[in-house]
Amino acid sequence: MKIRIWGCRGSLAAPGPSTVKYGGNTSSVEVRLEDGSLIVLDAGTGIRDLGRHIAAGEPVKKINLFLSHLHLDHVEGIGFFSALWNPDIELHVWGPPSPLRSLQDRIATLMSPPLFPVHLADVPCRPIYHDVPEEEFMIGDARIHVAPVAHRNATVGFRIEENGRSFAYIPDHEPALGIDLERVEPEWVSGFSVAHGADVLFHDSQYTEDEYPDHRAWGHSSVAHTVLFGQMTKVKDLVLFHHDPAHSDEQLELHRKRAKELWGGNNGAPELAYEGMEIELKG
């Protein structure tokens, strides 16, 4: 599979001269499977450019859009995603289930006046909505595993496995909330089954260790928590994702330096997510 980042900023889009290198668009990641199937992870502002890229390329018949949760930074781009305006594309939208309101209803709240000028029911595409199931499911030849993870409001992490290679995506996650990650058994760590042994993990690293105490229970991780989670889940490559909008490119590079110190070893990980980053996992 081929992975490409179109947005990796957390919380709020942060364009400007201080964020040019790693990007200001909020979460959106393209995953192309071996058979050409297209999975999009989250619909932050990065999905607008992804939509333009899709529209300019080989015609796409079907897209699976996986939403980790419905916080604004992960869905605010959906109305600007070209596929939503193309009746020839079969768009499947997957998100965390709720016993109270369907996924469609929850997205329709965002896609309706006065928040958005057009009702979701009036867009040319007819999206098909799915609650993510508890059991694994297949997209093309890829096996998809989804699990609820610790964040504010219903949130899931995704693991995509194809030809023996695996990519895990947990953009908003606070596994260390109330838990000593160094001492607890793996089955009691949020997100463990999603990340375990993955070739690549994109993981929340919103805060520095100094910032975290003032943001405890906000649903995000410090760089140190992210490294610890990556180590305990034995991921091969760790990518620091969901950059705080207040962090400049220069600050992010200090976070990477700190993450590498904590990670140890010589294999290059962890890295900072940046717009345009591409990773290929060959089977």
Binding site: L177, P186, W188
Partner: protein, 135 residues
Amino acid sequence: MSAIRQRNVALILARELAVNVATPMWVWDESGSLVYYNDHVAAMLGITNGGFDISELGELSQFSPSDLDGTPIPTPELPSAIATGRREPAHREMTILGRDGVRRTLTVTAFPLFGRGGAFVGAMSVFWQRDGDSS
């Protein structure tokens, strides 16, 4: 990857609540197995040695639970059994006989836990000890 065991995040957070409070609490998983009890439950049950095996603890039924008038409470009527078995909340006053031989009066509230998607993931019981050493 399906071989990897993963507890539901609602159960993880319930357990962490029990870890972080001084209120006696214990936590059951969706199969009805006790998965955590905090030190305050242990003290209330008269368990003084720290390394008590959770698999030995099992149920309150081991502690001769009785109504305040001394009538034994059948296991299926214990609040935690109702919360895990019938998936309903339950509340009861009772006395139990601790491992240390002390009979204590307790109030127990047990309630089922459902994950965000609505699936039953386990249950919690919260205890209040009404007196120290009535016998």
